[in-house]
Every structure is written in C-alpha cells, then in structure tokens.
C-alpha cells in the first residue's frame, strides 16, 4: 500500500507543465502488486455485476417485446420520430469521447494527469461506443435489416446515399470503434505480458501468452511500440473531433428549427468531452476509494481534470447562449419561436435541467476547494450525466415536436419500453466495464512505471526523466 501517510496532501501541480508525480509509489514491484491486486473478485463486485446484468435483462426484455409487437410500443408520435433511442445513442457516443481524448490528445500534449486514468477511460470509450452502436439498430425497428446501411455491391437496387449524414455516421462510428479498440488493445499488450509472467494457472497462462502475442519487453519491441502508439494518438486526435462533428451533422443537415446551425460540430464536441470526463469521474472516484488507489489517482489528477470539465462547461454554456443570440439576431421567426418554446414552453423543465446541470452547477469548479473534493466531483458527475442526456432530449424532441408547420405540432411521451432500453444500456455498459476491471489491469502498468524513478546503483548517473 501507499507509503505516504496522506497521499491527498500533495502539493498542487502546475497544470501548464502537467508535471504530476506519484511520490507514494516508489518501485516497479509496488505498481504491479497494488494494481494487479484489483483483479481479485470481491462480493461487492459480484453484487454490482448482478445489478448490471439485471438492468441489461430488463433492456433485453423491452427490446424483444418491441421486436414482437412492432416499433409502435416505443413512444414515437409523428412528427417526433426520433426519441429516447437517438437521444441515448448521442449520449453514449458523447461518453465515448473522453477515453480517446485522454489517451490520445492529452498524450500528444504530454499532460501528466492522464497516466493513471487513461486505461479506464479507454475501456469506457470502447464499451460506450459499443452501447451507442446498438441504438440505431434498435431504432430502425427491424434490426435484421441493419446491413442495408453497409455499402457493398448488391442486387437489391438499394444503395446507401453517400450524401446522407446517416451514412457518414456509419463510417464515423465504425472507424471510431475500430480505432478505440485497437488503441486500447495495443496499450494492453505489455501489461498482459506482465499478467502472463505472474500467472501460475497453465491454461490462463496460455491464454494470456496468446493475447500478449509473445511480448518480451525487448528494446526493439518498445521502440516500435512507442512509435506506433504516437501515430495512433496522432490519428485518434482528429478522429475524436470528427466523430461527434459527424454525429452533429445528423441534426445540422436537417432543415428543422434548432438544428440547422453551423455551431453544432464544436458544440457537440465540447459537450462530448464534458460528459465523457463526467463519466470518467463517475467510474474513477469510487474505484480509487474502493481499490485503495488514492495515491495513483491523486487529488492533483482530479484537480486537473476538473479544470478540463470547467473549461468544456464554459464552452457548452457559451454555445447555448450563442444559439439564443443567433435565433434573436437572425430574425427568423420560426427559430425565435422555437427557442422561446425551448425554455418557457412545453419542454421548459427539460431545458432548465440541462441549463442547471451543465452551465450552473459546474461553475462551482471555480472553487479550488470543490475541485479537490472527490465527493463533490462525484455528485457533480451524476448531475452532468443527467444534464447531458437532457441536452440531447432538448435538441431532439422540442425541435421535432415544434416544427415550422404549426398543424404538425405534437407531443412526445416515452413509454416503459423506452425507459427499459435506457436502463438496459447502462446495464450493458457497466457489465462490460465490471468484467474488464477484473480481467485486465485498469491502470497502465508500463506507463506508470515510466514516471517512477528507476533503481540506480549510482544516485547521480543516468537519472530518470
């Protein structure tokens, strides 16, 4: 365990240099022993897994019921033909953003606070995108027709429209899932080799040997690994920005009040990073407490990530305000009416949940005390998750239900099937994450070892970094 009595009392870092150290971690052996100790299953873990599977079971029941009865059992009410499924799709794609942001963009910027949280965030990304990917399939009502979206030569005379943002989305999400999974797996190879070398069970050792591709920690392997990791980070950086931009085009390309605006790509990307970091907190803060990892994910790490959340919250808040400003300044009466309706009309409660959770509460992070208070950060992360789901609700439902033609105006009320699938998505996500944390290292062993001063015979020669 930690050798420092109060790991939370570390000096605040200079975020500009991102120089965050782990003074309570002193040797490579300590890193392996403490992080691999997490892999042992506990009763609390089994209970959490059962809860996640129960939620997933509820979602699966709802989906089977919908397939049997038809899409009418969901709450769709023309012209509101996008509802909880598309809202939840965008929500999970957004959650999936923080992982690659932390592992790729912060890697290129040499931000030290990423080191101990990026593996969990990367895994979160993969499982979030896996979850998001289910919703367009659920939404089309006939999931067995999904392959029609994939462009390959066929004789059905139905060919995807390459000018449609929905087809762009298929390419963007497929690429993002592939690259996020590749990035996660490549980073895991040296750590799986650590597991392989400590494993005593011959069958598990064989499996781990297969998964580690016979990795031997040679200088040659590390050299090519480091270069490949750098290029993967360089590819992933624009990919992070492009994926949610493409998702935002699903809306921005539609001539619907509240959607047809050029601000959507940056607004969606900032919102995705904001919600992704919140989900990282939702996962990491209990983990650092339950698994005794407070000397790895220190208050300095949380403080640095809180500044990131505050910044993205300000960007998102600015985007909300600009939307209102453009509606007023543009002079288009449909837009003005729509935005008035958004905050004072039928859906006022959803808009005010969004504004409170995403704009007002995060302002508390201007306080240094609150930025360094894990309990507050965890509570705030729940509010942000709720607020960001409602942000997508506010974008989707009020626009469709309050279109340019008043005779079309209608309402929308999710049914139990919508709620079951929403709960099921959380069950699906957490089931995979819980299985991951007990099978593979949730922190990058090799990278954490890199920031620890190595053992030296002579104190002053060949110092560390």
């Amino acid at each position: 365990m930690a050798t420092l009595a109060h790991p939370d009392d570390l000096r605040r870092p200079n975020i500009a240099s991102a120089d965050i150290q782990l003074p309570a971690v002193t040797s490579y052996e300590q890193v392996d022993n403490e992080i691999l100790a997490i892999l042992k299953p506990t009763k609390a873990w089994f209970a959490s897994l059962m809860l996640a599977i129960a939620c997933l079971g509820l979602g699966a029941f709802g989906w089977i019921y919908q397939i049997h009865q038809g899409l009418g059992v969901a709450g769709y009410n023309p012209p509101v033909m996008w509802g909880v499924y598309i809202i939840t799709f965008v929500f999970w794609v957004g959650i999936g953003h923080a992982g690659t942001l932390i592992s790729a963009i912060l890697y290129l910027f040499r931000a030290g606070f990423r080191t101990t949280i990026y593996r969990a965030a990367e895994a979160m990304t993969v499982f979030a995108v896996m979850t998001a990917g289910l919703f367009p399939i659920i939404h089309i009502g006939r999931p067995w027709k999904f392959f029609w979206l994939i462009p390959y030569p066929n004789w059905r005379l139905i060919w995807p429209n390459f000018k449609s943002p929905l087809v762009w989305d298929v390419f963007a999400i497929t690429t993002y899932l592939t690259i996020s999974t590749t990035f996660l797996f490549v980073g895991l190879i040296p750590d799986i080799a650590v597991l392989r070398d400590r494993e005593t069970n011959p069958i598990r050792r064989k499996i781990l040997g297969f998964l580690s591709f016979g990795w031997r920690n040679t200088e040659r392997e590390w050299r090519h690994f480091a270069r490949a990791y750098l290029f993967l980070a360089a590819f992933s950086t624009p990919l992070v920005l492009s994926v949610h931009s493409v998702v935002s085009f699903d809306f921005a390309m539609g001539i619907v009040p509240g959607w047809h605006t050029t601000i959507f790509p940056p607004y969606f990307v900032a919102g995705a990073i904001f919600s992704g970091f919140a989900m990282v907190w939702t996962i990491i803060i209990p983990m650092r407490r339950w698994f005794g990892l407070r000397h790895y994910v220190t208050l300095n790490h949380l403080d640095a990530s809180a500044k990131m959340v505050l910044f993205t919250s300000l960007v998102v808040g600015l985007a909300y305000m600009i939307e209102f400003f453009i509606a007023w300044y543009g002079g288009v009466k449909y837009e003005q009416d729509y935005f008035w309706n958004r905050v004072f009309g039928q859906w006022w409660w959803a808009a005010w949940i969004m504004l409170t959770c995403n704009m007002i509460l995060p302002l508390s992070l201007f306080s240094q005390k609150l930025r360094r208070n894990p309990t507050w950060l965890w509570i705030l992360s729940i509010f942000i998750n709720i607020g960001m789901w409602f942000e997508r609700f506010v974008i989707v439902v009020p626009s469709l239900s309050h279109d340019v033609e008043p005779w079309q105006w209608s309402s929308y009320m999710p049914t139990w099937v919508d709620y079951a699938l929403l709960i099921g998505s959380f069950g699906w996500f957490f089931m995979w994450f819980l299985l991951f944390v007990k099978q593979l290292p949730v922190m990058a062993l090799a990278e954490i070892k890199e920031i620890i001063p190595p053992k030296m015979k002579h104190t002053h020669s060949h110092g560390g970094h």
Partner: protein
Amino acid sequence: MRGMMGVFSELDSTVEAIEELKQRKVGDLTVFSPTPRHELEHAVHPPMSGVRKFTLIGALSGVCFGFWIAIWGSNYWPLVVGGKAISTWLPYVVFGFEVMVMVGALSTVFGMFYLAGIPRLTMTVGYDPRFSHGSYGIFCECAPEKLVEAESILRRHGAVEVRGEK
C-alpha cells in the same frame, strides 16, 4: 542462438554493461526492460523505427479507397436529384478522412507487429519473467569462445544473475 544472459536490478548498471559489451564487440545484444527507457535506447543506439512507412502507405491507400468507394458507388448506382451533381467532393471528404484513419491506424499496428517480430509463438531463449516485472536484462548472442568474456562483463557490472542460454 547461443549466448549469455544477465539480469540486472539497476538501470545504470544495465547501461554500463551494454556500453562495454558494444565497445568490445562481444556479440549481438537484446536488451529487456519493464518499461521503455531513453537511457537504454541511447546505449543501444538503434536505427529509427520504420513504422512510419507503414503509416504513410496505409493512410494514402485509405484516403484513396474512401473517396473511390463513395464516387464509384454514386456513379454506378446514381441517386439523381435535380440540380445536384451525382458525385460531389465536399461530403465525400468524410469517407476519405474516416477510411484514411482506419486503414492508416491498422497498417501502423501491422507495421509495429511486423517490425517487432510479433506475434511470437514461443518465448525463445534469453527471456526471464522478471523482465516484465521490475528487472532489466541483456542477452548477448555470441560465439562459444566469447561466452566467458560476456559473462565476466555482465558480472562486473552488477548482474544479479548470469546464465548461459541456447
């Protein structure tokens, strides 16, 4: 493949041993470390990684394929809308970009595997499980008459264990 393997617990001892083994041209060296270290890279002084060539070729192939699939698909199965071109460059940038990233990244990983010599079915000689945990290692592949010299260099620089491997 025959040689002498030394296990070290200190980084600077490993570096010194590498430098002397290289200076005396005892044999070909394979260096092991639980984490990448610049000190070892400087001591070994290897050529630059060739992964970048795979990345470039993959990315260029990807961007070409991405544009081609969209343009060819649109022209072969045209969706005619009055006043609009059947193929347009601007929306197809999305396909060019996404496929460039996908193929470029996958070919980067392929390049890493190819150049690093993985997947490897057996661990071969000269490996010790301690190298993934906390120890450094040097495997010096050399002629039988040089084994004694390699062993003495490894021991002199503080190897905690030295053993012959074949």
